[in-house]
Symmetry: C2
Subunit: 321 residues, 2 copies
């Protein structure tokens, strides 16, 4: 369950007035926030407390956090010349705080630590739109209008993302997630020409790492097969596509992570139980099912419902927790 | 092409500082704004200049427009008691300006006038979230948690929407669109139990009208068959699903409206041409294809590209324009 923390009062207490990017740069705090959900419930993995713009900030792209909105870039990428603002990430020099947090966590945790990175399309959208976007129109227009600039942008982003992922594994992360929440804005044809080649390169360049990689997107019903072909050991799906239907489409040889609607957790427990059991039944007990929400935990989610959900999933999957 | 106007300088000039809800209540202005796109290009239909919250405002729900955001309701619906804030719409008394604009347009236009209404789920989301929402979490939580309140809310909304649609046809509209842009937030199972029955009732209650009805949603890949079963003569799809694939899923007996990505129109003409031809080829010349964008025209769209697109579609479909 990603974005671990924001639904916990102890997280809000610890972070106080500091914004998320400042907090991530303090390894002790990133470690503590990563551990907080595990103190509350017997989760099967820990997710590093970080943010997808961290490696971009680490190479000097001046994202700032705007309250209630998210990461904002006051001078968005608009032309070919902007690509020069990107360079390959050198993790030890550029983001020592990330590696310090991962090393501390790897020494302390008794469950796998999942590292992660934003995928190139999603990061490109943050750079081009200058922040979160509903339609990603400028990003898509750049992709459609200027393939050479798009190629340079996506290639440069792979050169940021790959070292970021490799360094997390080098420091002790035991699984990875490549997180592409905005890619569902694309139809299959532009995904195939404008995203798939860069995703393939990304997965190729981490293929030698001894870890499983989850490839996650939102609203990707029409993209699932292409995402599978791009790479990853598991495909992460949101709640919009029934899990059994996704598995029919993807075939039995790949794992699937998902896919309880996070909004269900705002309802009473009997509803959560019914909907979680529905997800588990659609998974049909396949060993390749990684139970998760279809997207991040919503801020108003009752912690008790999450705790009961973890217990329910463990009980139903005869997992030793 | 919906939201006709906001990409035209003459629209921005006419509206000036008035917000969209104020402007809609001035029939002469609504008529003029409806006609503006037709003065620029030989469109096959006119879309009434209105907004989906109009019938709610007309019965006293105090939406206001927040710049850059959209309709906002300061006291959102949160409990069963809030349902009493809704009542059946009486168009002649509650929204005479809508009917006056439709009558004037019907007398003047030489192409069909398309009236429209928001669908119950989308309107419920505006009421429950208090404005536009990315995840519609409170709305879905209400649907999951409290079916009797959800039933009362959705039923009351149908009692607003049906008179709004019927009155537009009575005043001269010659086609209708039922607009459900947010329903793609749902998986098929909750759509089936929480939306489909109300959509069926809505379509049943306008079935005697002598007009074609378009049933439109965004991000509805997994919902298409259920939307078809709910009703409508044509299903409107966004760009995310290839048109030929949507038709395979829906079968040949229903018309489809769509589905050029509006972001394509921000690219140079050769890209627009290529992508529009792709849509037309996927439609395969079927008479049931209503060419349109997959969503509204983006504000920065060059008018010349729209004009050339209209000509291209007419030339390619041997339409008399």
């Amino acid at each position: 369950m990603r974005q671990a923390g924001r639904y916990l009062p102890e997280y809000r207490d610890l972070r106080g007035d500091r914004d998320i990017l400042e907090t991530i740069r303090i390894p002790d705090e990133a470690v503590e926030i990563t551990l907080q959900p595990l103190r509350r419930m017997p989760l099967d993995a820990a997710i590093l407390f970080s943010d997808i713009v961290v490696p971009l900030v680490a190479i000097g792209i001046a994202f700032r956090i705007e309250a209630g909105l998210g990461p904002v870039l006051d001078e968005p990428f608009r032309s070919r010349a902007d690509i020069a603002r990107l360079r390959a990430l050198e993790p030890e020099a550029d983001e020592p705080y990330t590696l310090e947090a991962v090393r501390a966590l790897a020494g302390e945790l008794h469950v796998p630590l999942v590292g992660f990175a934003g995928a190139p399309f999603t990061l490109a959208s943050y750079l081009v739109e200058g922040g979160p976007s509903r339609d990603h129109a400028r990003t898509k227009a750049l992709m459609f209008a200027d393939p050479p600039t798009w190629d340079a942008l996506m290639g440069a982003l792979v050169d940021v993302i790959v070292p970021h992922l490799r360094a997390q594994v080098g420091a002790g992360a035991s699984a990875l997630q490549v997180f592409d929440p905005w890619v569902g804005a694309l139809a299959p044809a532009p995904y195939r020409s404008g995203v798939l080649p860069y995703m393939r390169r990304l997965f190729d360049e981490i293929a030698d790492l001894p870890v499983q990689v989850i490839h996650f997107g939102v609203g990707t019903s029409e993209l699932l097969e292409l995402m599978r072909d791009a790479g990853g050991d598991a495909i992460g799906i949101d709640h919009r596509i029934p899990l059994d239907r996704a598995w029919e489409r993807l075939g039995p040889s790949i794992a699937i992570q998902g896919n309880l609607d996070p909004a269900v957790l705002l309802a009473p427990w009997d509803v959560v139980e019914r909907e979680a059991i529905d997800v588990l039944e659609r998974a049909g007990g396949r060993p390749g099912h990684v139970f998760n929400l279809g997207h991040g935990v919503l801020p108003d989610t009752p912690v008790e419902s999450l705790q009961r959900l973890v217990d329910l999933v463990h009980a139903r999957t005869e997992h030793d927790g």
